[in-house]
C-alpha cells in the first residue's frame, strides 16, 4: 500500500506544512510577537547541524568503522563548552557590527576587506558543494529505495530503469524552489528569517523523533534491548571490532575528526547563520550551551544499535549500510515507520540545504557579486533607483546555481562515496576559516594579509590533498595522480605530500593545510603592519565587550551627507517602506525631525552604513555610503591620532589627579608640621621669656640685697646675716635653675651623661627621703612611707632616680594642704616593673592640665598673677629621666582632692633573666 504517489504526496504535504510554519513565523515576526524568541527554538535551529549525514550516514559509518562516527558530535559539544567566552563573543560581534555571514565576519574583522570576503565566499561555496550533494544523494537514494517497497533493493543493484528519472535533479530543483521561497521572499535589513528558523526548528524535532523511533524499533522490537543486541553482535568477531575505538589503529583520525567538528560547528556558513546571524537574544546561548549537546547525544544513542541490527539482519551485505535506518523498517513491513524514517531523513536534508543555500547566497550576493557590480562604473548601478529587485535576483540565481553545482558534484563524483566521506571533505574546507576567525576575535595583531594568504594557502592544500584526489578516484583524473603523483613526481603524491605517509588521508590533509594556513596567517601577521582601518576593526572585534555604544563610531565621518541622499540610497537597497520605517524609528528615538533637518550628522551616516551593511555587507556598504557622503572621510591615521591623543590626555589627567591627591596629602602633612612648628616656636618664646624671668628674679634679689649691704655699712649684724642668707639662697636657686636648664637641654639633645647601673631601688628611695627631710622640717607636713620589704633590682642612673623622687616629694610638700598636710610615698612590685607613687592631700591637678604639667614651664597656677612655685622644669626633667629608663610617669587626681604622681621603672633585664634561670 506504500505506493509511489502516497510517498510523493506525504513528502509534498510535509514540505507544505514546513512552508506553513515558516509563513506563520514570518507573520508573527511582522506582528512583533516573535515565535522564535526562546532558547528552545534557538537550540533546535542550531540542531540543523544534524543532517542526512547524521540521519543516514552515521549508521553507515558505524557499520564500517564502529564508534568512529562519534567525534563529529563530541567536537561541537566541546566547542559549546566554550560558549561563554567564544560563542557569546562571536554573537556579540555579529550583532554589534551587523554581520550577515561568515564571509562578512572575516572581511569585517580584517579592515572590511572586499578581497577577503570574496575569498571566503569562494572557499565556502566550493567547500560546501559536496556537503549539499551529500543531502541530495541521501534524499534521492532514500526516495528510490522507498519506492521499491516492499522489496529492499539498492539503487545500484536495480535491474530495471529507476521509476523517477534522475531523482537527484528533481530533488535539487525542489529544494532550490523551497530555499528561494523561504529565504529570499524579500530583502530584510536585519537578515533575519524568523519563519525559516521556526521551520528548521520543527524539522529538528521531526528528525529526532523519527530517528529515535527507528532506534527503539530496532533495539526493542527486533531485539530484546541493548544487552541482547550487543550479545548477538558479540558472537560475530567482525562485529566485535565495531565496539572498540579506533579498531583499525587510527587514533589519529579520531583526533582529526574531533578537531574538524569543533571548527565546523562555528565555521560552517549555515551554523554561523543560525547560531549568530539569526540569534535573537544572546542570553539564549546560556540554555543552548547544554541543550544542543544533549540533542546530539540523544540522536546518537541508537546509531550503533541500528548499525549492528542492520548488519545482523542483512548479513549477506546486499544492503548499503547508509540506508539501514530506512531499510530495516521496510524489510519488517513497517510501512508507517518506514515513511516516518523517510520524512525524518527528508527533514534532515531539507533543513541543511535551505539554511546552507540561504547563507551561501547571502555571501555570494554581498561579498562576491555586489562588490563587483558596484565597481563596474559602466553599469551605473549607483545611480539606479530601486536595487532590491537586483539583490533578490542575485540571491535567487545563486541559490539555483549552488544547487546545480551540488547536483553536478553528486552526479559526476559523489555516487561512489559514502555520505560521511563526502561530508568530511566539506568539514576540512570550512575548517580553514577557523584560524582567521578565532585568531581574529582574540588576537588584535592579526592582519588582513595574513588572513588572506593563510586562507589561500590552506584552501590550495585542501584542493590538492582532498578535492583533486576525490576527482581522481571518480575517474575524472587519472588514478596515477594519486598513486604516483602528478607527472610521476612521488614527492607530490596528494595522499603522501613530501613523503609524509602513515597518516589517514584526512589527518594528512588537515595537517598540511593547517600548517600552511596558520603558518602564513601568524607569520605574515607578525611581519606586516596593520593598516589603520584594520587596527580599528581589530579593536572593535577583540574588545567588543569593553567598547561602548554605537556612537563611538561617529568619529570616522567628519563630513556631511544630506538626509535626502541617505534616504534615497537606503531605499534603493533596503526598500522604500523599510527605509521610512527605520529612519522614523531612528528620528523618534532621538527626537529629531528629518522634515526640517537637511544635513545628516555623522551619527546618522553611520546608522545608514550599518543598516546598509545588513543588506549588502560591510565592505560594500562602506563604498556606497562613501559615494553620497560629500564630506571627507576622516583619514584613519587621523582618527587613530585622535584616539591616541585622547588616550594620552586621559592618561595625563589620571596622572594629574594622582599628583593632586599626593599634593593634598603632602599639604595636610605640611600644615600639621607647620602647626607643630608654630607651637614649638611659641613654646620657645615662652621658654625664653620664662627663663629670663626666672633668672632675673633671683638675680634681682641678689643684686638688690648686695647693693643694700654695699650702700649701708651701718646695718647691724643680724640684718646683714639675714640679707646674706637671702643672697646665698637666691644664688643657690639660680644655680639650681641653670643646672636644670642645662640638664634638660642635654637630655633633649641626647648629650646627657648617664651612669646606668643595677641598683636596689629601696636604698635609693630611702636616701631620697632622707635628702628631703629638710623640707619637712620647715613645713608642718607628715611624710608616710610604705615600702615592701623586697624591691627588685632596677637598671637606672641612681642619682637621676633620686632626683625624680626628691622632685616629686618637694612638689607634694609645696602643694599639700596646710596646716595638717601629709605626703605619702609608696612602692609596689608589679610584673616586670616597679611603681612608685607620691601622693599628697593638696588641691589636685585639674583634668585638662594632667598632661601639660609635664611640659617645660607649665605650671598649674590658680591665677595669672600668682607667683610660680619652683622653676617649672622639675616635672619636665622627671619625664625625660623616666622616659630614658623605659618607664612612664603620670598624675592622677580624684574629686576628693590630692594628687598622685606615679612612675614606673622596668625591673632589670639581667635580674629577670637570673630569676628565670633559677
Amino acid at each position: 500500500m506504500l505506493q509511489s504517489w502516497v510517498i510523493l504526496l506525504v513528502s509534498l504535504g510535509y514540505l507544505g506544512l514546513l512552508f506553513a510554519i515558516a509563513y506563520y513565523g514570518d507573520k508573527r515576526a511582522d506582528a512583533r510577537r516573535s515565535l522564535i524568541n526562546n532558547p528552545y527554538i534557538y537550540t533546535l535551529s542550531i540542531a540543523v547541524y544534524a543532517t542526512s549525514w547524521t540521519f543516514y550516514g552515521s549508521v553507515g559509518r558505524a557499520a564500517s568503522s564502529g564508534l568512529d562516527f562519534l567525534p563529529i558530535y563530541l567536537g561541537p559539544t566541546l566547542t559549546f563548552v566554550a560558549w561563554w567566552f567564544l560563542l557569546t563573543k562571536i554573537i556579540r560581534i555579529t550583532k554589534a557590527n551587523r554581520i550577515t555571514s561568515i564571509a562578512d565576519f572575516i572581511a569585517s574583522r580584517y579592515g572590511k576587506s572586499t578581497m577577503l570576503g570574496g575569498l571566503v565566499t569562494v572557499i565556502a561555496v566550493v567547500g560546501i558543494t559536496p556537503y549539499i550533494a551529500l543531502q541530495l544523494k541521501a534524499v534521492s537514494t532514500s526516495l528510490t529505495v522507498l519506492m521499491q517497497y516492499p522489496s529492499v533493493v539498492m539503487p545500484s543493484a536495480m535491474v530495471d530503469a529507476p521509476v523517477i528519472p534522475d531523482t537527484a535533479l528533481m530533488v535539487a530543483m525542489a529544494m532550490a524552489v523551497f530555499a528561494i521561497l523561504f529565504g529570499t521572499r524579500h530583502i530584510d535589513a536585519s537578515e533575519h528569517h524568523e519563519g525559516m528558523v521556526a521551520a528548521i526548528a520543527f524539522e529538528s524535532i521531526v528528525k529526532l523523533i523519527a530517528f529515535l523511533a527507528v532506534g527503539l524499533f530496532v533495539t526493542f522490537t527486533l531485539h530484546d534491548g541493548f544487552g541482547d543486541l550487543f550479545r548477538k553482535a558479540a558472537q560475530d568477531p567482525e562485529l566485535t571490532k565495531l565496539f572498540t575505538v579506533g579498531a583499525d589503529g587510527s587514533y589519529g583520525q579520531w583526533i582529526t575528526l574531533t578537531v574538524l567538528s569543533m571548527a565546523a560547528i562555528i565555521c560552517l556558513p549555515r551554523q554561523f547563520h543560525v547560531a549568530a546571524v539569526e540569534n535573537v537574544d544572546e542570553g539564549h546561548l546560556k540554555k543552548a550551551a547544554w541543550l544542543f549537546p544533549l540533542y546530539l547525544l540523544l540522536i546518537n544513542i541508537f546509531v550503533l544499535p541500528i548499525a549492528l541490527g542492520g548488519l545482523l539482519y542483512f548479513s549477506n551485505g546486499s544492503v548499503d549500510a547508509d540506508t539501514f535506518v530506512l531499510t530495516l523498517p521496510m524489510a519488517e513491513q513497517r510501512e508507517g515507520l518506514a515513511l516516518l524514517a523517510f520524512i525524518g531523513g527528508l527533514s534532515a536534508a531539507t533543513g541543511m540545504v535551505i539554511v546552507a543555500a540561504i547563507a551561501l547566497s547571502t555571501m555570494v550576493c554581498n561579498d562576491l557579486v555586489m562588490p563587483v557590480l558596484l565597481r563596474l562604473t559602466w553599469l551605473r548601478l549607483t545611480e539606479r533607483g530601486d536595487l532590491t529587485g537586483l539583490l533578490l535576483a542575485v540571491r535567487r540565481g545563486s541559490i539555483i546555481l549552488i544547487l546545480l553545482m551540488a547536483y553536478g558534484y553528486f552526479h559526476f563524483i559523489g555516487e561512489s562515496y559514502t555520505l560521511v566521506t563526502i561530508g568530511l571533505l566539506s568539514f576540512a574546507a570550512v575548517a580553514q576559516f577557523a584560524p582567521a576567525m578565532i585568531g581574529g576575535i582574540f588576537w588584535k595583531g592579526a592582519t588582513a594579509a595574513g588572513a588572506f594568504v593563510g586562507l589561500c594557502a590552506g584552501f590550495v592544500v585542501w584542493v590538492y590533498t582532498l578535492l583533486l584526489p576525490s576527482f581522481a578516484l571518480s575517474g575524472w583524473l587519472p588514478v596515477s595522480f594519486i598513486e604516483e603523483g602528478p607527472f610521476g613526481i612521488a614527492l607530490l603524491k596528494p595522499y603522501a605530500l613530501f613523503g609524509l605517509a602513515g597518516f589517514d588521508y584526512l589527518s594528512h590533509s588537515l595537517f598540511w593545510s593547517m600548517l600552511a594556513n596558520i603558518g602564513a596567517y601568524a607569520g605574515l601577521s607578525l611581519v606586516r603592519r596593520q593598516s589603520a582601518l584594520e587596527r580599528v576593526q581589530a579593536t572593535r572585534f577583540v574588545d567588543v565587550f569593553r567598547l561602548t555604544g554605537a556612537s563611538g563610531e561617529s568619529a570616522f565621518w567628519r563630513g556631511s551627507a544630506t538626509v535626502k541622499d541617505l534616504r534615497d540610497l537606503l531605499a534603493r537597497f533596503v526598500g522604500k517602506r523599510r527605509t521610512d520605517r527605520a529612519l522614523s524609528a531612528y528620528a523618534g528615538a532621538r527626537g529629531l525631525n528629518f522634515g526640517k533637518q537637511r544635513e545628516a550628522d555623522s551619527e546618522l551616516v553611520n546608522f545608514a552604513e550599518r543598516l546598509l551593511a545588513g543588506v549588502i555587507g560591510s565592505a560594500s556598504a562602506r563604498v556606497m555610503v562613501g559615494s553620497v557622503a560629500k564630506g571627507e572621510v576622516v583619514g584613519m591615521e587621523e582618527v587613530l591620532a585622535i584616539l591616541h591623543e585622547t588616550s594620552e590626555v586621559i592618561e595625563y589627567s589620571h596622572r594629574v589627579e594622582q599628583k593632586s591627591r599626593e599634593l593634598e596629602i603632602a599639604t595636610t602633612e605640611l600644615r600639621a608640621a607647620n602647626d607643630r612648628l608654630k607651637e614649638l616656636d611659641r613654646l620657645k618664646d615662652d621658654f625664653l621669656s620664662t627663663i629670663s624671668h626666672e633668672l632675673r628674679t633671683p638675680l634681682t634679689s641678689i643684686r638688690s640685697f648686695s647693693e643694700i649691704l654695699f650702700d649701708r655699712p651701718e646695718l647691724d649684724d643680724d640684718q646683714r646675716a639675714e640679707f646674706l642668707g637671702i643672697i646665698i639662697r637666691e644664688s643657690e636657686r639660680l644655680t639650681r635653675l641653670i643646672d636644670q636648664i642645662l640638664d634638660l637641654a642635654r637630655m633633649e639633645a641626647g648629650h646627657m651623661d648617664w651612669r646606668m647601673a643595677d641598683i636596689d631601688p629601696r636604698a635609693t628611695i630611702e636616701e631620697a627621703v632622707a635628702a628631703s627631710r629638710g623640707l619637712f622640717a620647715e613645713n608642718p607636713t607628715r611624710l608616710d612611707i610604705d615600702l615592701p620589704d623586697e624591691l627588685p633590682v632596677v637598671h637606672v642612673d641612681r642619682d637621676r632616680l633620686m632626683q625624680v623622687i626628691v622632685n616629686l616629694i618637694s612638689n607634694a610638700v609645696k602643694f599639700c594642704d596646710r596646716p595638717d598636710g601629709w605626703v605619702r610615698l609608696t612602692a609596689e612590685v608589679r610584673p616586670a616593673f616597679i611603681q612608685i607613687t607620691v601622693a599628697d592631700n593638696g588641691p589636685g591637678v585639674p583634668e585638662e592640665a594632667r598632661e601639660v604639667i609635664f611640659e617645660r614651664f607649665r605650671q598649674v597656677r590658680e591665677t595669672l598673677t600668682q607667683k610660680p612655685h619652683g622653676t617649672g622644669l622639675g616635672l619636665a626633667i622627671c619625664r625625660q629621666i623616666i622616659d630614658f629608663f623605659g618607664g612612664r610617669i603620670w598624675v592622677e587626681s580624684d574629686t576628693s582632692g590630692g594628687a598622685r604622681f606615679s612612675f614606673t621603672i622596668p625591673t632589670s633585664v639581667r635580674m629577670a633573666m637570673a630569676e628565670g634561670a633559677e
Binding site: 564508534l67 562519534l70 567525534p71 563530541l74 559539544t77 566541546l78 563548552v81 566554550a82 560558549w83 561563554w84 567566552f85 557569546t88 563573543k89 556579540r92 550583532k95 554589534a96 551587523r98 530584510d188 535589513a189 536585519s190 541493548f226 544487552g227 541482547d228 550487543f230 558479540a234 566485535t240 565496539f243 572498540t244 575505538v245 579506533g246 587514533y251 579520531w254 583526533i255 574531533t258 544572546e282 546560556k286 550551551a289 547544554w290 549537546p293 544533549l294 547525544l297 544513542i301 550503533l304 567588543v544 565587550f545 569593553r546 567598547l547 561602548t548 555604544g549 554605537a550 533596503v574 523599510r578 520605517r581 527605520a582 524609528a585 531612528y586 528615538a589 550599518r610 543598516l611 545588513g614
Partner: protein, 87 residues
C-alpha cells in the same frame, strides 16, 4: 575574584577535561573488548562521559555571569542597533 573570571576559568577547565576525556589516550583505557551490562565498555564510557560534560556545562551556565559584565554599557550596544528599529 569576580564572577566573570570564575565562569571563564570553569569553562576552560571543563574544555580541557572534555578534550582529555573524549580523545586518546584516556579513551584507550576503555577501548578493550570487555563489556558491562552486556554493552561494550567503550560505548558506555563515551556516552557516560558525554552526559557528564553536558551536565557540567549546564551547571556552569546556570551559575554563569553575563559575558563582559565588567562593562554594563556594552549590553546597550545591541539595543542601540538599527536592526531593532529598522527590521
Amino acid at each position: 575574584m569576580n564572577r566573570a573570571s570564575i565562569t571563564r576559568e570553569r569553562s576552560v577547565a571543563l574544555l580541557i577535561a572534555g578534550l582529555l576525556l573524549f580523545n586518546p589516550p584516556l579513551l584507550l583505557v576503555f577501548a578493550g573488548d570487555s563489556s558491562l551490562f552486556g554493552a561494550p565498555l567503550s560505548f558506555l564510557y563515551l556516552f557516560a562521559a558525554w552526559a557528564g560534560v553536558i551536565l557540567l556545562v549546564a551547571v556552569i551556565a546556570r551559575r554563569s555571569a553575563p559575558p563582559g559584565e565588567a562593562d554594563p554599557q556594552s549590553r546597550q550596544q545591541a539595543a542601540n542597533d538599527p536592526g531593532q528599529s529598522g527590521g
